[in-house]
Symmetry: C3
Subunit: 334 residues, 3 copies
């Protein structure tokens, strides 16, 4: 594709040779002839100087020797270039002969069902959804259109999933919540879960992540939520739209997280906690109480990051503090 | 079902209309006509007032306008009502044509084997056990009766599982332990594991959790143990009966945990640690040494929670402590 | 096998009856007649005294009543004995009738393909590699020889895997990285990942662990790397050869870890961090900045373990410190 043609699709203005031929995206360090790269900061200009790419996407304040598309947000525009120059592999409509589809299930037009995938009774899959090998979809499941469900993902009965949602390999949607009641004689009695998981549109669930279904009602994952790999979401949780949860987080049962929040990796949230919109929680923090105000939180228990930083600074000075205290006790001056 | 008939099954006495028709369980907020709900505390009476349920399970000290079953432990009795009004889906006995059962395996009466499930040589599955799609059972595995193994769970060769045990989707039972010996020339040499995992009766293993088999003997999960999702249990561990382990915990190798313990989420336990019976460990704690006395522990390293709370209070006052110290050093009085 | 014959295979010298018959390895506590055990320290001599084994592997300074093989490194030699006396189950070459192999895939001589496994278009599997049931291999994947891929593991398209590498059950190799760019109107836009994962020779990836593929280039797992269960490795990471990563660690994107490092369980590493060779990081630590010098690190943020220990000691004395401070403020002497 000529750089000029690409710029029409991407927006932005061209500086240099608009006839440069561009066939793929690449990194600065690995790019070869035909590649387009991007930079956002002048500090990468020396790397760009040595780069073998044929073109570059740059912000207005950067001038390159390479044919350039000049845009306000190079990272965003580069993401669009990736979509244009690297279209996804077409799975192709059709059902693999080794897939098992219950006779009462409904599979939309254009769907792909991979080898050894199974779809339970009365489940409905929307148009153009791709279901990879060894995926297991239970009964009474509803999946929207244009979804991708990667290999070995498991969807328990009753789950409802919107459109354009991606489930990565091995994730488990709708397992029993972790709830028992103690019966004097019999020990712990399992509480049967009759609720479901409801996942919105444009959601992404990471590989091997788990979302438990509600005890009675619904565990809700809002539109646009992005969940990374190996995350646990307990029963009855509600995750507000466009919230982002990084890898290895553990969210206990009945937690409410608002919209547009960001949770760093390995964060834990105690059960029944409520977190308002626009909250950012630093990696490894433990949230043990409600967070009612937008802001950045850190620590265990998680509290305002500015305060936590002061506490951590004092913690690091702890050994010195003990020495200073001993001196004072001996009546010595510092 | 008439409320009166239900109360005979559940126990408890009826207040109000025993002829009220009850067809399902529900939450206070979503209940409709025909539903039965429960409350345990008077603070929920206003919600109950607006609730559209047909009946309620209450403790003796709460009086509702709805037809009521009065019992000592409403949560426990409601769990029983769930079992009665929402019986599990019957998987139905039989083997899906796409399942693969080795000719030397023995499958008990009434078992269900789902699509693309596989059972290895000489394995034995007890009566009425349900094995969901794409489950992989290795060779020489023994599984008891009335178990449920959800989709894509993996059971390595030699594993022994009791009766009425539930393995959730994607869990991995019996993988190689993480053990290497260093050989000067060859780097790390893998230590072959010839042990097994032995799981008792009435156990529940969460989705995508992993339990490694022993190097030589047995990794043992006692009767009634409940393990949540995404938990790692290392080789040679022994988990005592009725112990509960919450999500995302990591238990290193050769750990012994006693009976009736509770581990909060994201707890870590170092290798070879021994924890006695009736120990509770707060979420996110790290256990680095033996815990010989029942009690509640927290922190990293985990120690008595009362002491840990004082330390955390002092930690939070760290910045103030530094200021007070500086004042004293300058000879100022507070 | 006679002990004498075994000692020829293992090295070491025999003390006692070289004609003792040895058929298996065992632990000190469970050994029966015919078993060989090992001890490394005199403190186990009382246990050895009661042990029913037929022979023992000991270091030069330990003298046992049992027929013995005397070697410098009993643990290493015992590992070799395990390999000799407990050879792995032979999976047997061949493709299960329910496996699905794309017509354009190439499967090497001696490979085993289990039930319901699937191999995508143009993928290449080397000789003698064992692929267990319900494994899903995408398109354009290259797998070396003598690998073992346990049940339900998932390998995304384009992945390259060396020889003698083991993927445990349920692990996910090559999933999309967790990267979005914000578009004012449309919210988060997913960044298509066109890179791959490249895994070296002699690597082991634990059960249900996840390794994301690079955005543009390669996520690289070096030769001899050992990764435990439930570990997350983000996109664009490079893990140096022979590094060991324990269970439940979370490594963010674009992290570089050197060779011969050891990460304890539940460690977290922030994105774009660089860690040099020969670094040890204690369990539960959080690495938030580069570690440029070999050594042992602990804490959050991770720093030199000697300093961290002093800080933790001061932390534990925090309540006492507050009391001492109050006394001084009141003008009292200790």
């Amino acid at each position: 594709m000529k750089l000029h043609a690409l710029s029409i699709l991407l927006g932005g203005s061209i500086v240099g040779d608009g006839d440069a031929e561009v066939t793929c995206c690449a990194s600065l360090s690995k790019a070869q002839k035909g590649a387009i790269v991007f930079i956002e900061h002048p500090k990468y200009l020396p790397s760009l100087q040595e780069c073998k790419a044929s073109a570059v996407i740059v912000p207005p304040d950067i001038h390159s020797h390479l044919p350039s598309i000049v845009v306000k947000n190079p990272a965003l525009v580069f993401a669009k270039a990736l979509d244009i120059l690297h279209p996804p592999r077409e799975a192709g409509a059709g059902t693999h002969p080794s897939a098992s589809v219950h006779s009462s299930a409904t599979i939309g037009a254009g769907c792909h069902l991979g080898a050894a995938a199974s779809i339970g009774a009365k489940s409905v899959v929307g148009a153009n959804t791709v279901i990879h090998p060894s995926v297991s979809i239970g009964e009474d499941v509803t999946i929207g259109s244009d979804c991708i469900i990667y290999p070995n993902a498991v969807v328990y009965p009753g789950t409802i999933i919107g459109n354009r949602t991606i489930l990565h390999a091995g994730c488990v949607i709708g397992g029993d919540g972790f709830k028992y009641v103690v019966d004097g004689n019999r020990g712990r009695v399992k509480v049967r879960h009759i609720g479901i998981v409801r996942i919105g549109d444009g959601v992404e669930i990471g590989a091997n992540s788990c979302i438990d279904r509600a005890a009675l009602d619904e565990t809700v994952i809002g539109n646009g939520v992005k969940i990374d790999n190996l995350v646990q979401i307990g029963h009855n949780c509600t995750i507000g739209q466009n919230t982002v949860i990084a890898g290895s987080c553990g969210i206990s049962g009945s937690v409410r997280i608002g919209a547009n929040c960001i949770l760093g990796g390995q964060v834990g949230v105690a059960d029944h906690v409520s977190i308002t919109d626009n909250v950012i929680i630093a990696a490894k923090s433990g949230v043990t109480g409600d967070l009612d105000k937008p802001g950045v939180y850190s620590g265990m228990p998680a509290h305002q990051v500015s305060q936590w930083r002061k506490e951590m600074a004092a913690f690091a000075r702890g050994p010195e503090t003990l020495k200073r205290l001993s001196k004072l006790e001996k009546g010595e001056r510092p």
